[in-house]
């Protein structure tokens, strides 16, 4: 039996997010959800009346909408909304200096390697601890060019003219039950504006951390990239393992103006009792490009279908998705491609791996209406099943109107065959190593789409997940 220090070291290595700090919050909206909860949040944030009204309307929509269990997992019924805490914050505005971040929060992000990454390769960082950002900084050179990178509360307060123009426009409150919930109780998340022609070379990164039990995180992100500008945004997320389920329900809206490019990268590694129900959509104007690179490894149930509305001529949308569902996990992911202008093109490549009793689901929607011409969609989804208990489902829906478009959808399911493993073991690899290598081989072409630092991390996460999958 190794000593406790070794165990702890191993644990951190195995699951870097699996630790928590005692709770010490100045603001706590308590448990449960009603109009009072919304008032509490608005009061703390000193919000304008229109926003208070917006939240209350959203709560009504949320209450009125049924759970989408007629097509989605019944596991949704296990979310007890009245047992969730909707707002927890330590108070105080986010600082631009790591030294000013409260010690436990700072230590959390240090253990996750955030300050180090910032020094090495990021153009800006925002670190959210439960409901509010604790740290937020963007390199001075970018600020000078007019790039705004702040949390959503600050964005609303300091840049209302920009924020209000697009807020809730890409994803209306009533889009689905969880977008309505987010609209009612949102807090935190990023607001980014990149002025015309500015190409942000290094990625901006946000880091989301749930620390408290029974806490629901509802960040709201809005990214506006003006004409000809470019940005890459990355988000990572972790939470400790609690006894009870936790909810994360974000809304992310992207707006790419003419000729703009947005790349949005997610590495989701929530602990296995987080319900991760996220709505993400981008609006691409003429000749703009929006790419979602979405990797889901953690959570209990993830439901996330990043979408692109191609509103301007020659706009492009892309979703690259990797999902790994291990024991007890359900990764229900996919893509939504709405063609709304001529000569728009979309591409979806999704790969999922189901391990043990894991379930992975792909849901896709492609819509090409009839008044358009020259639209193209290509969708590929491949699933890899590791064990005989693993499960995978694929449910695409493609609507094409008119004779000037082309769509193509291919899906396949495969296994790592016994003979393949035998071959690798004959060369001296253990079963776990052989499996890791095969799985990494399966997603290899997609992992290459991630920035270097992330692809290394991703490979390591997959190795860890696969190690215990055999035997």
């Amino acid at each position: 039996m190794p000593d406790s220090a070794t165990l702890e070291a191993v644990n951190i290595d195995q699951d870097e997010g699996a630790f928590s700090y005692p709770e010490d919050y100045k603001h706590d909206a308590g448990t449960g959800l009603n109009e009072g909860t919304l008032d509490y949040i608005s009061d703390i944030k000193k919000e304008a009346d229109w926003l208070r009204e917006f939240r209350k309307k959203a709560l009504k929509v949320f209450n009125d909408k049924p759970m989408p269990t007629h097509w989605a997992s019944d596991d949704l019924e296990n979310i007890i909304f009245q047992n969730i805490r909707y707002y927890l914050a330590k108070g105080g505005a986010p600082t631009r200096n790591w030294d000013e971040v409260p010690d436990d929060v700072k230590e959390t992000f240090e253990r996750l390697g955030i300050p180090e990454k910032e020094r090495k390769f990021l153009a800006g960082v925002e670190a959210q601890f439960d409901s509010e950002a604790a740290y937020s900084n963007v390199k001075e050179a970018l600020s000078k060019e007019g790039v705004i990178f702040v949390n959503s509360t600050e964005g609303l307060r300091e840049h209302p003219e920009l924020f209000r123009k697009w807020f809730g426009k890409v994803i209306p409150t009533g889009d689905n039950k969880f977008s309505a919930l987010n609209s009612a109780v949102f807090s935190g998340g990023s607001f980014i504006y990149v002025p015309p022609g500015v190409k942000v070379k290094h990625p901006l990164q946000a880091y989301f951390r749930i620390n408290a039990e029974n806490f629901g995180q509802f960040e709201r992100t809005l990214i506006i990239v003006d004409e000809g500008a470019e940005v890459t945004y990355m988000e990572g997320c972790t939470a400790p393992k609690f006894e009870t389920a936790t909810l994360h329900s974000a809304v992310v809206e992207l707006v790419a103006m003419k000729d703009a490019k947005i790349q949005y990268i997610t590495v989701q590694n929530w602990s296995n009792n987080v319900f991760n129900l996220v709505t993400k959509r981008g609006l691409a104007h003429e000749n703009a490009e929006i790419r979602w690179i979405d990797c889901n490894i953690g959570s209990r149930l993830t439901m996330k279908y990043p979408g692109v509305i191609m509103k301007g001529r020659k706009a492009r949308g892309e979703v690259i998705s990797i999902a790994l569902a291990n024991d007890g996990q359900h990764q229900d992911t996919g893509a939504k491609m709405i063609h709304a202008a001529d000569e728009t093109t979309s591409n979806v490549v999704a790969k999922s791996i189901s391990v043990g009793t894991g379930v992975s689901t792909y849901r896709g929607q492609v819509h090409i209406p009839k008044h358009l011409k020259g639209c193209k969609n290509n969708t590929e989804c491949d699933a890899l099943l590791i064990n005989s208990t693993s499960k995978t489902d694929t449910y695409p829906a493609i609507t094409v109107k008119g004779n000037e478009h082309s769509t193509q959808h291919e899906a396949s399911v495969s296994q790592v065959s016994e003979d393949q493993i035998f071959y690798m073991k004959q060369r001296g690899l253990s079963e776990g190593e052989a499996m890791s290598l095969s799985v990494n081989g399966f997603v290899n072409d997609l992992v290459r789409e991630f920035p270097m630092e992330y692809s290394v991390e991703l490979k390591r996460l997959i190795d860890m997940e696969m190690e215990d999958s055999v035997g």
Binding site: D419, K425, Q426, E433, N440, G441, V443
Partner: protein
């Protein structure tokens, strides 16, 4: 401690059908043995049983490698102990590059915590690829994925060279090769002949043995070795056919 790969009275079956019926064979270090035999005599089964394939059940007999009980080891443990099988049908591993695969296999042979020297590894690999006339681009291609028959077999030999086994079985390595590829493969094997290594070459045709000249030739029939002789036995078999051996058996 004996210095050989020693198979004694080996019985093995697949799905209740006995294929190996008391096979005995000893390959001392430094020698090249060949097994010839008609289709269905159990040649490929022998190689898979020694490698530890789970479809085959061993019901009797032993296999010792330099005195170590090989049958007691897992598939990968046998490999790391120094046993190599060049497959008749090398499996494809989509998405995993040759370089990564070989590197992982080499890494698996290092003590825990020790990292492979990447520079030395690539240098060695390139040298061996040159020896086998393999293009550099090959390292980035997925293992055996979309390879021609000849490329697959060359790849098996490259892996053998890189993993430096004590004993190697070449299972029908000549099948599907044209004469030029065959010469290159044989050259690779010959370059590895050493007093520290034993080979067992399984083949249906004598052709390969023109290039890899064996010290001993065995004839396998119905799950057993039925005749053993020098390299001339292979020529005799080629000339007279396998019926000659089986008829001789019937007479005896």
């Amino acid at each position: 401690m004996s210095n050989s790969l020693k198979i004694e009275n080996l019985h093995a079956s697949v799905e209740d059908t006995e294929i190996l019926k008391g096979l005995s064979l000893e390959i001392p270090k430094g020698e090249v043995h060949a097994i010839m035999g008609p289709n269905g005599s159990g040649k490929s089964t022998l190689s898979k049983v020694i490698a530890g394939h789970e479809d085959y059940a061993v019901s009797g007999g032993t296999v010792h490698m330099d005195g170590e009980d090989l049958l007691a080891l897992e598939i990968d443990e046998r490999s790391r102990a120094g046993f190599f099988l060049a497959f008749q049908y090398p499996h494809e591993i989509p998405g995993v590059s040759n370089a990564n695969f070989l590197r992982a296999a080499r890494q698996a042979r290092l003590p825990k915590g020790e990292e492979i020297d990447a520079v030395a590894f690539y240098k060695e690999m390139y040298a061996k690829m040159d020896e086998l006339g393999m293009d550099r681009k090959f390292t980035a291609r997925s293992v055996n994925d979309g390879f021609s028959g000849g490329e697959k077999k060359r790849n098996e030999i490259l892996q053998m060279m890189m993993l430096d086994p004590k004993y190697a079985i070449l299972d029908e390595t000549d099948s599907g090769l044209d004469i030029d590829a065959l010469k290159i493969v044989a050259q690779g094997v010959n370059s590895m002949r050493s007093p520290e290594r034993g080979f067992l070459v399984i083949t249906h045709y004598q052709r390969l043995l023109d290039y890899i000249v064996p010290d001993v030739v065995h004839v396998m029939h119905d799950g057993k070795i039925v005749k053993t002789g020098g390299k001339d036995l292979a020529l005799e078999l080629e000339e007279k056919g396998y019926d000659w051996v089986t008829e001789e058996l019937a007479v005896a």
